[in-house]
């Protein structure tokens, strides 16, 4: 049943390409076949991390005329926030490299498709 569906599809495509009845509907400039890879999509842009910490630190600086001795608490919280953000990013990238993230990255999809490529020669 699947074979019948496949051959019917081939006949339709060849009719669309042929010049016998009317003008051909399709004029493909590339071969009508699926590639063994996926295009790289634009990554969704993340947001800036630790912006609140930065703004608190900067208000403290403004008030104390950039003397650092007075702003040690804000600086400590800023550094801790930065460390946390960096650790999180590292974790996320590691998870994505394994494949446990939310989406299948194009890199992973390509490795999978390379393992099971399309048939190029009919056996």
């Amino acid at each position: 049943m699947a074979m019948q569906g496949v051959t019917a599809f081939h006949q339709k495509v060849s009719r669309m390409l042929s010049r016998q009845e009317k003008k051909p509907i399709l004029k493909p400039n590339k071969p009508l076949a699926l590639k063994d890879e996926v295009a790289n999509r634009k990554m969704k842009k993340g947001e800036a991390t630790c912006v609140t910490e930065i703004s608190i630190l900067m208000t403290c600086w403004k008030q104390n005329n950039f003397v650092e001795a007075m702003c040690s608490n804000e600086m400590k919280s800023f550094y801790s926030c930065v460390e946390k953000a960096q650790a999180e990013m590292k974790e996320n990238s590691k998870q994505e490299a394994i494949g446990k993230g939310a989406r299948l990255t194009p890199k992973l999809a390509n490795t999978l498709l390379k393992k099971y490529p399309n048939m190029r020669i009919e056996i």
Binding site: A48, V51, S55, L57, M75, F78, V82, A85
Partner: protein, 229 residues
């Protein structure tokens, strides 16, 4: 005659091997030069350290560079500073300048110590290594600027910096300040010792440069949202 003939029968090996851009296989681990880590008895190792030791027993380890020693005086920060000061690969000269700098710092501090009254003597720090580290800490910027393009224009956006980047910036500022903005006839060790002492007291051009960077970051704080990481 037989000696020369047997010499010709050797397989040809090149006398010169290209080494400059070669890289160790990532499988190799970094060497650990510090002796005190090896003298910890078995019982006091944490689980992580035990794991590391087991891993090191099976993996190959890179050769240590010649700038690294197992002596207690080996300081990675100081070695990095010496390497940054080095010109044309002359590590001997750079190290000599650094030792002269530390010596002159010590001399100045001991002079101050002996001239100071009894009450103030405890506050004067005589260890030049401690002074160098403290001065470097004072020179490190907290926040840096990155040039980010948005809508065709480039904006200077305040970004958090990694520790390595901050240390590098502090060292670079110290060295360029000493090389460019001092009197022509003073020697490098004098210039460096003056700059380091000034940075220890939170004065001087390097601290000024750091404050200017902070001020720029503060004035551009509205662009902080242009970052995407």
């Amino acid at each position: 005659m037989s000696a020369s003939v047997t010499g010709l029968l050797k397989p040809w090996t090149p006398r010169v091997f290209l080494v400059r851009w070669s890289r160790y296989n990532p499988y190799y681990l970094e060497p650990e030069p510090r002796k005190d880590l090896y003298s910890i008895p078995e019982s006091e190792l944490t689980a992580e350290q035990k794991e590391e030791r087991d891993l090191k027993a099976v993996r190959p380890i890179k050769a240590a560079t010649s700038g690294v020693t197992s002596s207690p005086f080996d300081d990675p920060v100081l070695s990095k500073f010496i390497t940054m000061m080095m010109k044309d690969g002359d590590k001997v000269l750079a190290r000599g300048i650094m030792t002269q700098t530390l010596e002159s710092i010590k001399r100045n501090q001991v002079e101050k110590y002996h001239k100071a009254p009894e009450g103030k003597r405890d506050e004067i720090e005589c260890n030049p290594y401690a002074i160098f580290h403290q001065a470097l800490e004072h020179c490190k910027p907290v926040i840096g600027l990155a040039s980010i393009q948005k809508g065709g224009k480039f904006y200077q956006v305040p970004i958090p910096l990694t520790d390595n980047r901050r240390r590098f910036m502090a060292m670079k500022w110290l060295i360029t300040e000493c090389r460019d903005n001092k009197h022509r006839r003073t020697l490098m060790y004098e210039k460096l010792s003056q700059e380091i002492m000034a940075a220890y007291d939170k004065e001087g051009n390097v601290i000024k440069k750091k404050h200017e960077l902070h001020k720029m970051a503060e004035s551009n704080r509205a662009y902080a949202h242009y970052r995407w990481w």
